[in-house]
Amino acid sequence: MTALKQELKEALIDTLHLEDITPEEIEDAAPLFGDEGLGLDSIDALEIILILERNYGIRIEKPSEGKEIFYSIQTLADYISEHRKK
């Protein structure tokens, strides 16, 4: 799980162009979206959907389905470990 979370943080930093942020600075439980967290937005959510498809074989059809799954690195990692196909 720790390795998966590290992998996710690196993927987010790389794909979502979170320059100036290191994986260590992203807390597992902190919200990814909204002003209090990493400040991700709806385009980032679509990019996370692509990461899930590409890296873990998980398909999410509607961005709205992702709301709770994408809450934090922790919720994302939990969902992936349960549903991953690769």
Binding site: T15, L16, H17, L18, E19, D20, G39, D41, S42, I43, D44, L46, E47, I49, L50, E53, R54, E61, K62, P63
Partner: protein
């Protein structure tokens, strides 16, 4: 204010779409509830089966061959065919010095772009020149690429040029095609309907794309007007909602402001308006936003429609072809039904019907909204009801400051303020960003074109000063460049050619006006946004246009931005103008 203007008539419409090769054929099909949206299984366009409204290829090829247009690209053929019809119908002489052409398109000949090749014809200015030459126009065409409001923007810009006395006649045409580039991008946004779009319906599940081309003539001279009752393009306004580059405002404030300013300019009250034709794409957020804006403007009880379920969303064509439908509706006294609409699905219920309805009509408001947060509205009226609008006389302004970025150097008012030569653009602009100590985590997400425009602006404006001195609605952005969003277009093309799914974070930047959208968000600017495509920096044109829009009562300042970037070649020439009279 100046003298009262002779009316700007809008006339001689011409239209090619998925449901017909003439205005009459299109209207007949709409009256018969025939939609152009259907299943498309064509690997040349997309590797998945999808739904969209496509022009009949056989008839198109025939029309192009008959018109002697085989050497032109498909979109150029459509533009030339429709414009020839508008010229023929109106009897205008296109080579007249007092006649100009305004073109609206988001992506032009983008299907000619490939990973290894970007031929000249992908440049919108080249497309414009080829069309203008084919039609024998003397004046250089004015090209607008401002996302999905381009068509409505083109009508507004055309009307203003006439109101300022720069031209007597303006041909306005808008067109865009279905292709891999556009379809894959919208699909990556998960915004395509699984079947056909159902604007404002509770079961709506996204938009349907379409292709079309339409044209009209704007003229001050009634001799060229062909309608039994002349129609006047009275007024229009463009705003930005400064919310998000790909999502509309949640409150509808930007669109509300565009409608409200359009009404103010023509001195209209809610009672003067008979119906509205809105953008109505069929996405959850767009339709919701529009319902709020229309209600805010007090127009929620008027008959309203969206025609996207007939033609699909035709991007740069939509503002023109939907305006043509408005003209037909005004003349025939019917408000077309919103095909596919069954039950209200927006928070503020609107007066929508799937059936066509008859009314005594005198005036309508047409709106559009698009990526980059832009919104636009116009008012069309039967001549007997039309309001006389004052002529536009240019405002007096002062150039307060200027910024030039090129070749690793940044100059402000001719003084060198930053230099980093021998670095590639990403390193150079990052170093400049760090040097300015701007703290905005959105910066790194932007494409290079936006970063260039963003940095140039930081040397001219600060958020605090702007907020202190101006209301958000008092500031306009008038931008231009040569290559549109070609640099990011190539990135998107490379991704889709590689066979992987398109990236929404790349696709969103394949519209040049998004740089203005980013600036509006950063600085809280909500005034006009217009993006022109020109083959070279034309300071006189941009400053003259700025002084025209500053002549109204609302705008007090304008940022002019030439913002050009392709690969390692970049040039930003920004000027901050303040109105003095």
């Amino acid at each position: 204010m100046g003298n009262l203007l002779k009316y700007t008539y809008i006339t001689a419409p011409s239209l090619i779409s998925s449901i017909g090769f003439s205005v009459n054929e299109n209207m007949q099909n709409i009256r018969a509830y025939k939609s152009g949206i259907g299943e498309i299984d064509d690997k040349d366009i997309y590797n998945k089966v999808f739904n969209a409204a496509r022009i009949d290829q056989k008839q198109w090829n025939l029309a192009a061959a008959e018109g002697g247009l085989n050497e032109f690209t498909p979109l150029e053929q459509l533009f030339i065919l429709t414009l020839r019809e508008t010229i023929r119908k109106s009897g205008i002489n296109p080579s007249d010095e007092s006649c100009c052409l305004v073109l609206s398109t988001t992506k032009g000949n983008i299907e000619r772009l490939s990973e290894d090749d970007s031929p000249q014809e992908v440049l919108l200015s080249v497309l414009g020149d080829r069309i203008a030459t084919a039609l024998g126009l003397k004046n250089k065409p004015i090209i607008i690429s401002n996302a999905c409001i381009s068509g409505v923007s083109a009508l507004i810009v055309g009307r203003r040029m006439i109101a300022a006395g720069e031209y007597k006649h303006i041909l306005v045409a808008g067109g865009d095609l279905l292709n891999h580039f556009v379809v894959s991008g919208f699909d990556s946004f998960k915004s395509l309907s699984a079947t056909a779009c159902r604007p404002f319906d509770q079961d709506r599940d996204g938009l349907s794309l379409g292709e079309a081309c339409g044209s009209v003539l704007l003229t001050t001279e009634k001799d060229y007007v062909r309608e039994k009752e002349p129609i006047v393009l009275e007024s229009g306004a463009i705003t930005n909602d400064a919310n998000h580059i790909s999502g509309p405002s949640r409150t509808g404030d930007g669109l509300y402001m565009a409608i409200s300013e359009t009404m103010t300019e023509a001195g209209l009250s809610t009672d003067d308006i008979s119906f509205l034709n809105v953008h109505g794409t069929g996405t959850a957020y767009n339709d919701e936003m529009e319902s709020k804006a229309v209600t805010w403007a007090g127009l929620q009880n008027l008959p309203l429609n969206s025609l996207k379920s007939y033609w699909g969303h035709t991007l740069g064509a939509s503002g023109i072809i939907e305006t043509i439908a408005c003209m037909e509706e005004l003349l025939s006294g019917e408000v077309f039904g919103t095909f596919g609409y069954k039950n209200n699905g927006v928070p503020c219920a609107l007066n929508i019907s799937e059936e066509h309805r008859s009314f005594d009509l005198k005036r309508c408001i047409k709106t559009a909204s698009g990526f980059g947060g832009c919104n636009a509205a116009i008012s069309l009226a039967l001549e007997k009801e039309a309001k006389a609008i004052p002529t536009l006389s240019p405002a007096i302004y002062k150039i307060k400051s200027q910024c030039l970025i090129t070749n690793g150097e940044i100059k402000v008012n001719d003084q060198l303020v930053f230099k980093l030569t021998d670095a590639d653009f990403p390193d150079f602009i990052r170093a400049a960003y760090k040097d300015r100590q701007v703290d905005d985590r959105k910066f790194y997400k932007m494409d290079d074109l936006c970063k260039l425009g963003y940095m140039a602006t930081t040397f001219l404006l600060t958020v605090e000063e702007l907020k202190k001195n101006y209301n958000p609605e008092e500031i306009a952005l008038i931008f231009a460049n040569r290559s549109s969003s070609l640099d990011t277009d190539k990135q998107h093309q490379t991704i889709i050619e590689s066979g992987t799914e398109a990236s929404p974070a790349v696709f969103v930047y394949t519209l040049p006006n998004v740089v203005m959208g980013e600036l509006c968000i950063r600085y809280g600017i909500k005034g006009e946004n217009t993006f022109f495509i020109q083959d070279k920096y034309d300071e006189t044109f941009l400053m003259d246009y700025a002084s025209l829009i500053l002549s109204g009562n609302k705008l007090k300042a304008c940022l002019i931005g030439w913002c050009e970037l392709v690969g390692e070649k970049y040039e930003a020439r920004f000027s901050w103008l303040e109105k003095t009279n």
